[in-house]
């Protein structure tokens, strides 16, 4: 342990506690070493590496088509976006024109993934604050999207639907119908989220003014996604460096200035409304045509460096490929949002109570495999 026990003037001692690697609210094998003064948190020190699978190193052994499968296993709740990012980077390198149909499908799938990830987050957030019912409500809506994915992609969690040049299969015939039915249903369910949690007095007391992250801090730690935007850091990649179909659709970048737990919560709820809006604009105008462009079976990127970033449900995911012209990348690097977001946790939790730490961590929406890779 790196801690030196500090004696307080009144003779009391700080103590430390291991939160994790197995703990109900770290949602995975994350270990936080908390230095506490009674219930008040003095320091939070994340210890990583419990689920490190060296995905970046494995990428150097696999060819480009195989790499996509690995990225599902990073941020498993944004599997589509991860695949999408790698495919875009590879397509940049190959200079392949992706068919319009595939572009629209990818965008719709990305937004559906965002909704499903946020519904799950909402449920877990409630559970972290002690309202277990929200977990079941969140899962109910998550399940609908999972079923839609299952029909088209054949998988429920690790979709691996994107391939270089487009998507792997065409849409299931029921896709449009089911997605529309889901959206109509979900628009009546989202207000329920507000009545159960967002307007609850205890919930407001627990989240407002808690775990504040200033805009300067958000920028210097690189906190992106809803967590960063709740602090006023305009970091939506879909808006500022648009890819796929995002330049052509109309949506708002959710920005709050408070930077507390509640605005991070609110940012995600609002993002779900924006995602609904995006899907509604696209679902009726999916163009006919090919769903995948012709690429060679063995992909070889030209010598050089390729970078692509996308907006996942957690923030900015960057994919960096260094190619030496072989079948495999020379080096591959992922800039995962979870890692940067976690690094700011100490700033947010310092001075709060243990319960505040749990609430704050919950609004960062950490997925541990994304942090460790």
């Amino acid at each position: 342990m790196s801690q030196d026990i500090i004696m307080n003037p009144d003779g009391t001692q700080e103590y430390f506690i291991n939160m994790g690697p197995q703990h109900p609210s770290t949602h995975g094998v994350l270990r936080l070493v908390l230095t506490l003064d009674g219930e008040i948190i003095e320091k939070v020190e994340p210890h990583l590496g419990y689920i490190h699978r060296s995905i970046e190193k494995m990428c150097e052994k696999d060819n480009y088509r195989q790499i996509i499968h690995l990225t599902d296993r990073m941020d498993y709740l944004s599997a589509h976006m991860n695949n999408h990012a790698v495919c875009l980077a590879i397509e940049n390198g190959l200079s392949v024109e992706v068919p319009e149909r595939a572009v629209v499908i990818r965008t719709i799938m990305d937004e559906l993934t965002r909704i499903s990830s946020h519904t799950l987050w909402w449920g877990v957030m409630g559970m972290d604050l002690g309202a277990i019912t929200s977990f079941l409500y969140g899962f109910r809506d998550h399940e609908h999207i999972t079923e839609i994915f299952e029909e088209t992609c054949g998988a429920r969690l690790t979709m691996n639907y994107n391939v270089p040049g487009g998507v792997m299969f065409d849409l299931h015939p029921d896709f449009v119908k089911k997605t529309k039915a889901f959206l109509a249903d979900f628009k009546t369910k989202l207000p329920e989220y507000d009545t159960l949690l967002s307007n609850n007095v205890i919930f407001l007391e627990r989240t407002k003014g808690v775990g504040i992250l200033t805009k300067e801090m958000a920028i210097s730690y690189g906190v992106t996604g809803p967590a960063g935007r709740a602090s006023g850091f305009a970091s939506d990649v879909r808006k500022h460096e648009p890819y796929s179909k995002y330049p052509n659709v109309d949506f708002k970048e959710i920005l709050y200035t408070e930077g507390d737990t509640f605005s991070r919560y609110k940012a995600r709820i609002d993002e779900m409304w924006e995602s609904i809006k995006i899907i509604e604009q696209l679902i009726d105008v999916i163009p006919e045509g090919d769903f995948v462009a012709k690429t060679r079976n063995v992909i070889k990127l030209p010598k050089g460096e390729f970078y692509q970033k996308v907006e996942t449900a957690r923030g900015e995911l960057g994919v960096f490929i260094v190619s030496d012209g072989k079948m495999q990348p020379y080096r591959m690097k992922f800039r995962s949002p979870g890692f940067s977001n976690l690094s700011a946790l100490n700033e947010m939790a310092k001075g709060g109570k243990i319960a505040d730490l749990v609430a704050t961590m919950s609004t960062l929406d950490l997925v541990v495999p994304d942090i460790d890779r």
């Binding site: 703990h23 559970m127 309202a131 609850n200 749990v358």
Partner: protein
């Protein structure tokens, strides 16, 4: 038969009955809680073991009994093993004081309410002991939270009951019920008794460590709080004590505010009262208790958990002053005879 033998036999019978009752209560309340939770969460709940899953809790308890009684290695073995029994002690004593129907009670002390309030304070000792003896920081934090919480909320719970004691003029449960023959205190006592009833419900929920006040075992913060290190039947004791305490709080609320086993009477309407008397008192009591239990379960499955400082703020800055003013108000009302 010599008198001593009669008394011994009576005690043993009563004790056995109380243990059986507590066991049955635990089983049915756990089952009820799971069904109620499922009902709030769009699930079905237990439905595989036995018809409608009613044997599920029996199976669970059987499993817990058959598990090895582990003692955490670096704990204080004596206190560690003692704590679950202290947890169970208070509910067992208090359960003997509750009037289930006319004359259906084990003890009817003339200072019954005082006795119940005093004895239920012992429960916190079990929580503190388990937290301290487990030698686990999570347990310790949980125990400290729970200690602060239970001790604080006993104040306003006591003050809330006092309002009705002022109105009825007795500390004996049977007399408090008898005084509600013309109508339950919640209807006769105007708004102050309503306030007292709400304060009692809130502080009762807090005293039993149930959500939204369950921060002593706050799963998402402290894994399981004070009983983190317990497993098997010792854990079951903590679990059981929680449910029996729930029942106790609810039956006291029903007895004091809602007339206990007394049917719904309106003073002056003799025909109506006679019809109400056809429903046996035990059903009135159980009906009221069930209603309140479902209400408290509803709290638990809807609200998020409070933070420790918010809990203490709620008690010391709001509930306690309200109860004190309320008590003075009720005393004034009683003095002037302004209740129905």
């Amino acid at each position: 038969m010599p008198e001593a033998l009669v008394i011994t036999i009576e005690w043993i019978t009563m004790g056995t009955l109380a243990i059986l009752f507590v066991a049955l209560l635990g089983l049915s309340l756990v089952y009820g809680e799971r069904k109620v939770a499922a009902w709030f969460q769009q699930r079905i709940g237990p439905n595989r073991v036995g018809p409608q899953g009613i044997l599920q809790t029996v199976a669970d308890i059987t499993k817990l009994i058959m598990k090895e009684p582990l003692t955490a290695g670096r704990s204080d073995h004596f206190l560690y093993n003692l704590a679950p029994f202290i947890m169970m002690l208070a509910p067992f004593i208090v359960i003997s004081m509750i009037p289930y129907a006319k004359g259906l009670h084990i003890l009817d002390m003339d200072v019954g309410v005082f006795f119940v309030t005093a004895v239920s304070g012992v429960g916190v000792l079990g929580v503190l002991l388990s937290g301290w003896a487990s030698n686990n920081k999570y347990s310790l934090i949980g125990a400290m939270r729970s200690g602060a919480q239970i001790v604080s909320y006993e104040l306003s719970a006591g003050l809330a009951i006092l309002t009705v004691i002022v109105l009825s003029g007795s500390l004996q449960f049977s007399e408090i019920i008898e005084s509600q023959r013309e109508g339950w205190w919640i209807f006769r006592g105007h708004i102050p008794v309503w306030i007292a009833f709400l304060v009692f419900l809130i502080s009762g929920t807090a005293e039993t460590n149930r959500g939204p006040f369950d921060l002593a075992e706050a799963e998402s913060e402290l894994t399981a709080g004070f009983h983190t290190e317990y497993s098997g039947i010792k854990f079951a004791f903590f679990f059981l004590a929680e449910y029996v305490n729930l029942f106790i709080i609810v039956s006291i609320a029903a007895t004091v505010f809602l007339g206990g086993w007394m049917p719904f009477h309106i003073g002056g309407l003799d025909g109506f009262n006679a019809v109400m008397d056809y429903i046996p008192p035990i059903f009135w009591f159980l009906g009221k208790v069930t209603f309140l239990i479902i209400l408290i379960m509803w709290f638990k499955w809807t609200f998020p958990r409070l933070r420790i400082d918010q809990i203490l703020t709620l008690e010391w800055k709001y509930l306690l002053p309200i109860s004190l003013v309320n008590l003075v108000l009720v005393a004034f009302i009683t003095l002037m005879g302004w209740y129905f």
